[in-house]
């Protein structure tokens, strides 16, 4: 069987394996949410100002909230299998539209964050490991620890004060300059979005940066002690060649694995950053959905983000297998 064919079969297999997980997530959260006090109608009525019990009952019937739980669940699952995530009670819109609206910003923030965190983490870890126990190493380690230990929102607010207000380099928040209204694919818009992306990305990546830096450092050190490094020396290679060609590639493996594991945490972790920088991501949407008991919406978000995680993990696996010939996908 050809490599690509095997890969395809592998991808398919993995998706199949992910299916029960995603379902389980939906079901678990379905029941959890029903354990919560109050429902979407309470919230709607509350927001509206007031509403008669009759009207609220009418709404509940409309949303199907008057049905017994199992029925509601079955109905929901049935819809899911026909790729229908239902209607958002609060927004009176199809969940899918709502979620997709927020999906791209999330992806954008996530990917840029991972790239930044992993990229810099690798570089810093490398620098630390190559200058083992020098001031450089110490400095980097301290930096890593501090960034890790500083509460995210604190960093975020500080960045806004410094880079947006005092220096005026970046906008405080949002995803684009609302006064401008460039059309989506115009160069101006892309630049605008990128400009808005900087602060949130940096803030969010700082936390993970620390993890990757430390992981990379440890991993480099471990690899540096391996026999093949001695072999490489015995071949008369320069230390740089040894570090960057031989050790580096081996040392990357655990970092890549970690990156995969982190994705799930990342989507969630972005809630705070999204709220601080008013980034229109899934995290914030989920947060609102939860507090407005917008069941369908929240389940939809969990569903999609779970799929997202699965997808990213898949990508990571494939990257991994291409980095490490010993791992054969399929």
């Amino acid at each position: 069987m050809s490599r690509t064919a095997r890969r395809l079969r592998y991808v398919f297999k993995r998706l199949l394996q992910a299916l029960p997980i995603v379902l389980a997530i939906v079901i678990v959260n379905f029941f959890l949410l029903h354990m919560a006090e109050g429902d979407a109608v309470d919230v709607l009525a509350g927001e509206a100002g007031s509403a008669t019990p009759e009207y609220m009952a009418e709404l509940r019937a409309k949303f199907g909230l008057d049905q017994p739980l199992p029925v509601q669940l079955l109905v929901y699952l049935k819809n899911v299998f026909s790729f229908d995530l239902g209607y958002s009670f609060r927004h009176e819109m199809p969940v899918l539209d709502l979620v997709l609206d927020r999906f791209w910003p999330t992806l954008l923030l996530m990917v840029s964050t991972i790239l930044l965190a992993v990229g810099f983490g690798i570089v810093l870890g490398l620098l630390a490991a190559t200058g083992l126990n020098t001031w450089r190493d110490t400095l980097i380690s301290i930096f890593a620890l501090v960034t890790y230990a500083t509460p995210l929102f604190w960093v975020g607010l500080m960045f806004i004060v410094i880079f947006a207000l005092n220096l005026g380099w970046f906008p405080t928040s949002g995803m684009k300059n609302v006064a401008a209204f460039n059309d989506t694919w115009s160069w101006a818009n892309i630049k605008d979005v990128a400009h808005h992306l900087v602060l949130p990305t940096i803030t969010l990546s700082l936390f993970y940066l620390a993890l990757y830096t430390r992981l990379m450092r440890a991993s480099m050190l471990e690899q540096a002690g391996m026999d093949y490094v001695t072999t490489a020396r015995a071949k008369g290679l320069t230390e740089n060649r040894i570090m960057f060609v031989h050790v580096l590639r081996n040392a990357l493996l655990p970092v890549v694995t970690m990156a995969g594991v982190q994705v799930g945490a990342l989507i969630g972790g972005s809630v705070i950053v999204e709220s601080v920088f008013a980034w229109p991501g899934l995290g914030m949407l989920a947060f609102e959905a939860l507090f407005s008991r917008d069941l369908n919406l929240l389940l939809g978000i969990f569903l999609l983000s779970a799929l997202l995680v699965v997808a990213v993990n898949l990508v990571v696996d494939i990257i991994y297998s291409s980095l490490d010939p010993r791992i054969e996908v399929g």
Binding site: V43, L44, G46, E47, G49, S50, T52, I160, M284, S292
Partner: protein, 523 residues
């Protein structure tokens, strides 16, 4: 004698202003803070604050109200109240078009009031409860036939409170999920363009708006920024120009008002009259005893709340009614029975009498922002001083609503209510026996019931004569002062923070809930 109200003059005035300003710098985009993101833009379904910020730019009411709460024309050019006060005739503007080009007619008014406002609107059923039928002899006249006089109704006709919506887009639809819910089509100065969820709502100038030369702004964008500190930063940075209803926390407003580029005002909330208060469960000990409720009221230093949590914005409550009703003479200063500062001894004494010493209770907090948590933390201490051990409970909105208004499962609840332009609209709902409606939000959750009061409220609602009405409400305030089914804390002053180059955004009594048709940048 036939009370006839001509308000054409006011209209002239409005257009004059328009003419005068025509010369001045116009256009530009106004970015205003909308917090939180509204659930929809169906202001005929919900009086939710954020909807109130955007919808009135799109939908208009029959009337508008100027800064001293006097009615000025809007979709109704003038109106006419019969002697017995049971017939109100509205003469509608001619040549008004919906944003989709359809003409606006009395049909729309009739449909809106009878089908929507008096049925599914949260407050409409109350405001329009006396409306029996509406006759529409022609396309530009709407005659409201009332069971009883309803003077308060005429205060509830703004574009925010009672928006007129297009019949042709709603008739036969499911009002809640019609396309109009998220794509509003109105007669107002601005047209709905797009709503980017999680980011902004965009409204563009309505080129063929019926008021000559208005609006002046090209565009209004409502931006959603969840975090308060970020909102402030954005305002400081000039990324947004306008934030009302506490979008900018008072603490920051206090700081920002020192900047020349930014203005801060408490105007524009005259029709809202927010009042913060404590609701008691009057059906169960310890708060079934008025003395205990009084003691609590005495234990709280209202000025402290205002100074330290709302940073000086607000006014200690003096009676059940907001002092803003002074204008209509309804507020009785002599009925004052809410001390501005705490009086521990008196409170302790009352508790002793009531035999309710060192009791412990749970205090629920309205989950609408940090300030209320601070208030709760303060009260926990203050009540501690008089020997009441308080356990704070802070739950999310749905849980809280259910607990307070459906399950009645609480001792004491910090909350705030809009008293609105007339007691009938905003105050009665707390105290009337008919307002003990389990499952309905923001009504009489204290379950206070007093036939004497009920009678007064009914009279107060129907009494057309201002003097008599004042007398009635004076009694109301006395009774409530004595029984304290709820302990009013203070009259809240919401803040509007704005870019000081933005002018005429506060011409309407509705302030942020106004149409902004005259607002412009003076650059």
């Amino acid at each position: 004698m036939n009370i006839r109200k001509w308000i054409g003059g006011a209209l002239a005035a409005a257009t004059m202003v328009a003419g005068a300003t025509a010369a001045r710098a116009e256009g530009g985009t106004l970015v205003m803070l909308v917090q939180p993101e509204p659930p929809s833009l169906a202001s005929y379904l919900s009086t939710s604050g954020p909807i109130g910020l955007m919808a009135p730019k799109i939908y208009e009411g029959l009337l508008d109200y100027d800064s001293d709460l006097q009615a000025v024309p809007s979709l109704a050019k003038s109106y006419d109240v019969s002697d017995d006060g049971k017939t109100v005739t509205f003469n509608l503007q001619k040549g008004v078009k919906w944003h989709d080009g359809e003409p606006f007619t009395s049909e729309d008014v009739k449909f809106t009031v009878l089908e929507l406002l008096s049925k599914i609107h949260p407050r409409g059923p109350n405001s329009f409860r006396e409306v029996e039928s509406i006759d529409i002899p022609d396309a530009h006249t709407a005659i409201f036939n009332l069971k009883n006089p309803a003077p308060y109704m005429l205060r509830a006709l703004s574009g925010y409170e009672s928006p007129i919506v297009p019949k042709h887009l709603l008739e036969g639809e499911d009002y809640r999920s019609a396309d109009l819910v998220n794509n509003p089509v109105g007669t107002g100065p601005f047209k709905f363009v797009e709503w980017k969820k999680g980011q902004y709502i965009r409204l563009d100038k309505n080129e063929d708006y019926w008021k000559e030369g208005l609006p002046k702004l090209d565009r209004i964008v409502g931006r959603f920024i969840p975090d308060a500190s970020t909102r402030t930063a954005a305002m400081e940075n000039g990324e947004v120009h306008y934030g009302a209803y506490g979008a900018i926390p008072n603490i920051d407003a206090v700081r920002l008002r020192e900047m020349d580029s930014i203005g801060v005002t408490t105007d524009g909330y005259g029709m809202i009259n927010p009042m913060s208060l404590i609701e008691f469960d009057t059906t169960e000990p310890p708060f079934d005893d008025a003395r205990v409720r009084k003691a609590v009221s005495l234990a709280i230093d209202r000025q402290f709340l205002i100074d330290n949590i709302w940073f000086g914005y607000g006014k200690p409550a003096t009676s059940a009614l907001s002092s803003n009703f002074g204008a209509t003479g309804l507020h009785d200063a002599k009925a004052a029975n809410y001390p501005a500062d705490q009086n521990v001894e008196a409170a302790k004494k009352l508790l002793k009498e009531a035999g309710a010493e060192d009791i412990s209770i749970t205090l629920d907090l309205i989950p609408y922002g940090e300030d209320w948590r601070r208030a709760g933390e303060y009260m926990k201490q203050a009540l501690g001083d008089i020997g009441i051990k308080v356990d704070l409970r802070y739950e999310d909105v749905p849980t809280w609503l259910k607990r307070i208004y459906a399950d009645y499962d609480f001792d004491m609840n910090v909350n705030y209510f809009y008293q609105l332009p007339d007691p009938v609209l905003g105050v009665h709902r707390h105290y009337g026996t008919d307002q003990i409606r389990q499952g309905t939000h923001f009504v009489n959750s204290s379950r206070y019931s007093n036939p004497k009061l009920d009678a007064l409220l009914v009279k107060g609602a129907q009494e057309p004569d201002a003097k008599k009405r004042a007398a009635i409400y004076s009694d109301v305030q006395k009774i409530l002062g004595a029984d304290k089914p709820v302990a009013n804390l203070f009259e809240m002053n919401f803040l509007t923070v704005f870019d000081s180059s933005l002018k005429d955004h506060d011409t309407s009594a509705l302030g942020a809930y106004g149409s902004f048709d005259q607002a412009y940048f003076d650059k």
